[in-house]
Subunit: 216 residues, 2 copies
DNA sequence: TATTATAGTGACCAAACGGTCACCTGTCAA
DNA sequence: TTGACAGGTGACCGTTTGGTCACTATAATA
């Protein structure tokens, strides 16, 4: 099935809006990139702003499908190594997918100029990943893989640094290898800090609730 | 001493560039805001781009003075509560200072359109605070306030979530109270996770290195 | 006093922009 | 066959934009 001109316009608009900003994008270049004349655009959208709004509609719909419901979560990791693998796979995809990459750029550059972008940015950069990992961390705590604590706070502490590094990649794509390595190092560091210790530390926790526990 | 017109132009340019972006800023409005005619601007700067570059020069100079050298660091906290206080004071200032606030906006919106802004953004959002806290955390580890680990990694894990929340504030300033509260909650959570346990754990550390060490 | 540098003005220009309009063309239903 | 319509074109329009230029006023200097 072929892509309708209406959708082709939106696809190209995402590219140009993301790379040049709303104001930096002009309809002549957009039309030329599609092999159309400028006035042809007006057969599909009423104005530049209408294209912009349609693009935001699409982004909101995509976001709702991807992060809106907590039903289509990835399977909860059953070991530290599985958490590393899942995270790296997820981030590797997020980082490289051209659409998501452009979306990040657009959200960052236009977050102060459009109320809808503002809300999307907060969802995308602050809440999306964090909410997902909060659920997973809650389960991993019950499974004894992570120390008991507040899953939401833990997920926030986990995803924020990763998001920072994703932003670094978005700014400087040539540092991809460095970024991926730093993410993995951070994930392993995070696990080392937060995993449920076995051995005597485990016992210590049990003992500490006991008044008799003293020097060993 | 009065402010030179050249500097007044830069001050106003920061405001307009930050709020409307480089492309969204026009020299007529800028001049009008200063009570000047547009052509007067050209007595001080050769072009719009020249104003932009002069502004970036100023920002780089400011950054170099503030974060460039590690000499003018705040005193290292001697207790958990001091770390909370220092962090909240630092972030409270960073968040509210109008100049820094505008700088954040400018760096975020223009990071993909200008190579110098790109580098500044990485320094500002990723390295600045982190480097500062890395030094402090290193000292706090030696002082037995924090568990021994990699200070740089710890500082990164500490500052990234805070920076995320600062970005949230920059996007949605009406959520200031919520942001400050979340930052403080995170800082306290972070300390709880990473502080050196006292009791016998403290003694264990002392015994393993230096028997009989006492300070004050 | 005459001169010169500095800071400022308003009119103007060419280019670029979003948007409109009359017109063309193929497709499909009445 | 005809007529409506979706899709596309190029010329054109008003506005905005960065930038230029001739000109003026003031204050310091030779």
């Amino acid at each position: 099935m072929e892509i309708s001109t209406k959708d082709r316009i939106l696809n190209e608009a995402l590219i140009m809006f993301a790379e040049n900003g709303y104001r930096g994008t002009n309809l002549r270049d957009l039309a030329a990139q599609l092999g159309l004349s400028k006035s042809a655009l007006y057969k599909h959208y009423d104005s530049k702003e209408a294209i912009w709004n349609a693009l935001l509609d699409k982004m909101e719909a995509y976001y709702a499908a991807r992060f809106g419901s907590m039903s289509n979560l990835p399977p909860t990791p059953r070991s530290s190594e599985e958490l590393v693998a899942l995270t790296m796979r997820l981030i590797g995809f997020t980082i490289r997918d051209p659409q998501i990459q452009l979306t990040r750029k657009l959200l960052l550059t236009e977050q102060f100029h459009d109320a809808r972008v503002c809300k999307l940015a907060t969802k995308h950069f602050l809440e999306g990943l964090a909410n997902m990992f909060a659920v997973m961390f809650g389960q991993m705590m019950q499974n004894g893989l992570l120390k008991q604590s507040d899953p939401a706070m833990l997920a926030f502490a986990f995803t924020s640094p990763i998001t920072s590094l994703v932003h670094l990649y978005t700014r400087e794509p040539d540092r991809e290898a460095e970024v991926m390595e730093r993410i993995e190092r951070f994930v392993r560091y995070f696990i080392a800090i937060n995993q449920q210790e076995t051995d005597w530390n485990m016992q210590k926790t049990l003992i500490s609730s006991d008044p008799g526990g003293e020097d060993k």
